[in-house]
Symmetry: C2
Subunit: 347 residues, 2 copies
Amino acid sequence: MTSPVLCPVRFEDGALRLLDQTRLPAEERWLSCRSAEEVADAIRRLAVRGAPAIGVAAAYGLALAMSSAAGDETPLERFERAAALLAATRPTAVNLGWAIDRAREAAVAHAADEPAAVASALIEVADAIVAEQRESDLRVAELGAELLEPGDRVLTHCNTGALATGGAGTAGGVIAAAWEAGRLAQVWVDETRPLLQGSRLTAWELTRAGIPFRIVTDASVGALMARGLVDRVVVGADRIAGNGDVANKIGTYTVAVLAARHGVPFYVAAPVSTIDRDAPSGDAIVIEERDADEVTHIGERPIAPAGAPAANFAFDVTPAELVAAIVTEAGVLRPPYRDSIARALTG
Amino acid sequence: MTSPVLCPVRFEDGALRLLDQTRLPAEERWLSCRSAEEVADAIRRLAVRGAPAIGVAAAYGLALAMSSAAGDETPLERFERAAALLAATRPTAVNLGWAIDRAREAAVAHAADEPAAVASALIEVADAIVAEQRESDLRVAELGAELLEPGDRVLTHCNTGALATGGAGTAGGVIAAAWEAGRLAQVWVDETRPLLQGSRLTAWELTRAGIPFRIVTDASVGALMARGLVDRVVVGADRIAGNGDVANKIGTYTVAVLAARHGVPFYVAAPVSTIDRDAPSGDAIVIEERDADEVTHIGERPIAPAGAPAANFAFDVTPAELVAAIVTEAGVLRPPYRDSIARALTG
């Protein structure tokens, strides 16, 4: 039984259609965004999320900006206003800035054209990013699956499937490919507080795909490893520094430290576009802090005393020394990462 | 501003009154238990929780058993039936079995008496356990506070204050005493999934006490330590083995591993009654597994796809090598723990 292909980010009839990930798994509700402002809002409140998927959404958002009311702005001025708005939504995912930079090249090349022609060019860029992402995901999945062995019980954190990329997923793609290839017994799904991307989204995707899994609280990972119940860890990445330090969803670092203690290989699956050429190490990566309400409430429901303060770092940095391999579409990168990453970027 | 003394476990007018901890912080509702069955139910669903507090509740529950309808049972038969019921509620907390054993001595001594006389004797035992717990908590708090230094930012996991012991608390008592002594800047409160004893209960206690704190998700601890924001960890214990291995709320082991990596001292605060003479190491400690619904739901609200499987280990074991000190009323125990624990037990 194969599950239907999931395309959570679609450009149809002049609108960006997004499967609202804040509503899953309770309901499958689609949003229609017709302006850059609506796309920015969807990214900010995580209706669309996952570093690759928000890059794609931003690229379509820029195209939408071209068709909105002009005033006396030039197309390029309008582009830059939308680009600034979209770039500011989430600071940690590198794909956002990368997608905007690619769109800017097209906007500059068409600067003298009518807004509609610029919009068409930007849609072409966004479509190309989607197509490349899908191809890249498939290659990452194929290479990553080869690292697994029959019977493996694989732990993953956050959500890195189709919902996160618009393609096969990164770590989620590796897991699905390993399952198809008979190299996977079961997935351990970290719930991934505060927004529960594991129990809400990864569990939903695995259920659709018929892959066996069990959800655990994030605090259970140490106990699972101490009992010998985890054979490998595969996670995605929001930004990878030139030395192999990996910024990813908060809690990833904790999993990596536990994996190191228990001799469990810790793999990162991500496209080359996730590598930040301007970040020599994790110290250079800006970590997004989000609203404390995400910690003190589940949806609208308070789970702490009224007004209780909370800290909500959205990401953490896993130092390269804890990463056994980074699986990219350009190959499986191994330490020392400064060398293997440089080769992947130029190759 | 001193907060009113909190006695969440009280025996009044022939009933055990329990502050229902499943309702906090939303409401302060009191339960009245008039039978061992009602007490067992309250322990099982965590209306009363914390290893010391459930020991106290069980002791009063045995007294209540003596006043319930007799049939043709002898008082001792009735005692053993209630003891079996109460002992089966939670397997990991050692204080439960320990309190039952103490009550059994009194029941045996009064085996020939009327049920009412046995009940009185059992209430005396329970009252004595409460009084000893309060005294022990104060000593633990005093000794533990001396380990902290002015300006310390202390991380704690789960709830270990008055709600957990009926006295000043264990780790919670250390934190309160350190605050009074000017040896504490701020508390980091792990939310402690799945049942959120940190964000619901510890945050509630710290708010009442006027002690500054911030809540974080359990998965944030690594990031906090990597940023140098945690100076010490203080946690309680549900059972301590003879070699110093510590069973405590799930997630404690993860915190201990991270603390070791970052050179943050990891302290355990617990009464001597938490030490299990029959467990030579953590391997001998039975770990309670609870209902998967606690992971896949918040209260009645599902947070995962319907029917999604989950694993819910309630405790984990932190190996002695990760524990810098165990603070007991008999003194601050240091490695090698087999020696220091043996001295505390005989001292």
